[in-house]
């Protein structure tokens, strides 16, 4: 009823490999996109600027990480470091006078170079060993940033991003920044949606499932792993740049520490490996839930007139937030994306699934 399949017949390969075999998926997506486009007009600026904007940027970044973890099956614990490379490179490039379009691309490119350079070394090992090697990338980058004043502008200092301009148009309004973030996030989403229909996507999945089996099939697993690392690093770099120019307005090393890498990993895992909608939901939960839970708890405490010490007040929402993650993963170990998929699968045949029983 909701995801109606009746009357949909694929009679050739092109139609069978369409992005959305069921029109309802496409329509739902268009509706969400429409709402997203209208968001600055229908929602209070506070919600757009403090919740939706960072949510979109972090989603774009997490989708890049999901590419390497979910699709290519390579654990990556140094993703924030690559965002830092992109952020610092593009801010420096922009301060040097390069237009922002170019600056962001340079940031992404340098991030891709460093990401794949590191992948060359890292991909000699697999699994947990790879995870630790990528963690090393994070620590190397942290060390480099905290020890090179020429990059970071000195200890405790920070680099301001120059005025953001795209195509000669200065973007200084909240709505403008929101649309840039939305545009980038949509772009990454479209890329990943299409990935699964391409040879590249299939090769990545083959490598993920068993790399030497893939090699027997003629897929150069090393090459595809490098491609996955480079692409995700590119997305990381540009996302890092956009995060700085649209949200933080300046760049400091603390914005991209190992804690951020772990947070990104949590977003991907809670959301669901190789799941796009899951990544959106995972980022929403990890990034926004602490603030929302905090506020709900504050409202509850105010309602019942409970008085806590400030620490308890801070720790209870954190505990709730942790419990929330655990509960979601117990309900569905495959992540939030799978929960959505279960609901969709249920609705796909509803109400006729009852007939079988």
């Amino acid at each position: 009823m909701f995801y109606r399949q009746s009357g949909i017949r694929h009679t050739d390969y092109v139609s069978d490999s369409k992005l959305f075999p069921i029109p309802a998926d496409r329509n739902l997506l268009l509706l969400i996109l429409l709402i997203a486009l209208a968001a600055p007009f229908i929602l209070a600026p506070f919600y757009v600027n403090s919740y939706i904007l960072p949510w979109l940027i972090w989603t774009a970044a997490a989708l890049g990480l999901n590419l390497v973890i979910g699709w290519a099956g390579q654990l990556h614990l140094g993703y924030a470091a690559l965002m830092a490379v992109g952020a610092y490179t593009s801010v420096h490039a922009a301060r040097f006078g390069i237009p922002w379009e170019g600056a962001l691309l340079i940031g992404g490119a340098l991030s891709a170079v460093i990401g794949s350079l590191f992948a060359f070394a890292a991909l000699r090992v697999k699994g947990l060993y790879l995870a630790l090697t990528t963690l090393a990338l994070q620590f190397v980058m942290d060390w480099v940033l905290s020890h090179s004043p020429t990059i970071t502008g000195g200890s405790h200092a920070s680099l301001q991003a120059p005025t953001f301009r795209l195509l000669g148009q200065a973007i200084t309004s909240d709505a403008g920044r929101y649309y840039v973030a939305l545009g980038w996030c949509v772009l990454v989403t479209i890329f990943l949606l299409n990935l699964r229909r391409t040879g590249l996507g299939r090769a990545l999945v083959a490598v993920r499932e068993k790399d030497y089996a893939a090699a027997i099939l003629g897929v150069n697993s090393f090459l595809y792993k490098i491609i996955a690392f480079a692409t995700s690093a590119f997305i990381a770099g540009i996302s890092g740049g956009i995060l700085v120019v649209c949200y933080y307005f300046l760049v400091t090393p603390e914005q991209f520490t190992v804690a951020v890498s772990i947070q990104l990993l949590a977003m991907v895992i809670v959301g669901g490996l190789a799941s796009i909608i899951g990544t959106y939901l995972g980022v929403g939960l990890i990034l926004l839930a602490p603030g929302v839970v905090n506020r709900l708890f504050g409202a509850l405490a105010g309602y019942f007139d409970l008085r806590f010490s400030p620490e308890t007040f801070a720790h209870i929402p954190n505990a709730v937030y942790g419990a929330l993650i655990i509960v979601f993963l117990i309900i569905e170990p495959m992540g939030l994306g799978k929960i959505y998929r279960n609901i969709r699968d249920y609705l796909l045949v509803w109400p006729f699934d009852q007939l079988k029983k």
Partner: protein, 419 residues
Amino acid sequence: MKLVRMLKGALGGAALGAAAVTGAAAQEDEAFRMGVCYDLSRAYTFITPQIVQAGRDLADLINADGGIGGHPIELTVQDHGNEPQRGIECYERLRRDGVFVFDFLSTPVSLAVVPRAMRDEVVMMQSLVGRGDAINGEVFEWVFPVGPTYWGQAANDIAFIKEQNGGSLEDMTIGFVYLDYPFGQEPIRILETLAEREGFELQLYPVPLPGNDQSATWTQVRRNQPDYMISWLLANGHVVASREMQRNGYPISQYIAVNWLNEVDIENIGNEAATGILRGTNVVGGQDIPIIQEIIAELYEEGEGNGPREMINDVYYNTGVAMYSVVFEAARLAYEADGWPITPESMRRGLRSLEEYDANGLFAPVTVTESDHGGGGRTRVEMWDGETWVPQNDWTAAYQDVIWDVVDQYSSEFTLEED
């Protein structure tokens, strides 16, 4: 269609919620409100509870006395977990509700909010943390790091050693042990400049975060035997350092800690072992201070304190009282000069008119001006004698020229040439 309806409902609900919140804010406009977005759950938990308690106690005390021109002070405390993202969220929400004075007490979050506070023209307190060059009021027009910065404190430590050594530092060696990240690295520039000027040898001993492994560092110290060790460590880092000092036979009386060393750390070191330890300090310690006595008498003895009574016996409580004294005094000055309601503009004028203000006897007097938002930044060195902190010298603000050189250089890099 159901989905559309649901979405509409959700949007409507959100809009209603927003309206309700702004409505509530309008009713409370009669209070002087301050946004306190602190890290109450991660890295700064060794200070934030004491400071929040101090702020609330002081606010209660002033409110009992009639508040600021009859308007009560209200602190809105929220946790940001030391994450820039959540700090920004806290800032944006409170600002929407009409708050225009903020404190974040976290370097990463302060740094992340600076551009917003500057753009929104909102007063941002930043005492004792954050970027040291923010004392340059001509660049950081809305940021107020009233009180000493780390740079000032490091220079004053050197001045103290010079004084102890009869006015000369020639041929001395001073070791600097620090956490190898921005907090610890910050004074290096100042120390290097001073080493060149005063002719002492500076030895750097970086310690990896979080400072629990210092064994290699202190064996090096044993070999080099510097005359003094200045330490930029936090909380337990001092405890580990003291253990390593004992092991390596380095006297604790030549160890000058950064101001983040409190009674809890002393207890963890062991009172006897800690006797003689030195600390650069920016507030008066102990409870023999009129304002603290007043808080105890008016609030705690009435059972109306904002936290456990024993928390007062902590130098960070005094730090909190000092920080909030500055804010509330500035608000009072703003009210006296420009009346109610206090605006960001008048609040800033209030802060800038602080003259020889000693934060209820807790700071060395500060004078904030348009160009100097730090207010002088005097610190002194104190020694733990087994029972209390004993001042070893007068409040000093040494080598101001060196500090302002560095401040000017860094703050000029912050400004951007806009076309």
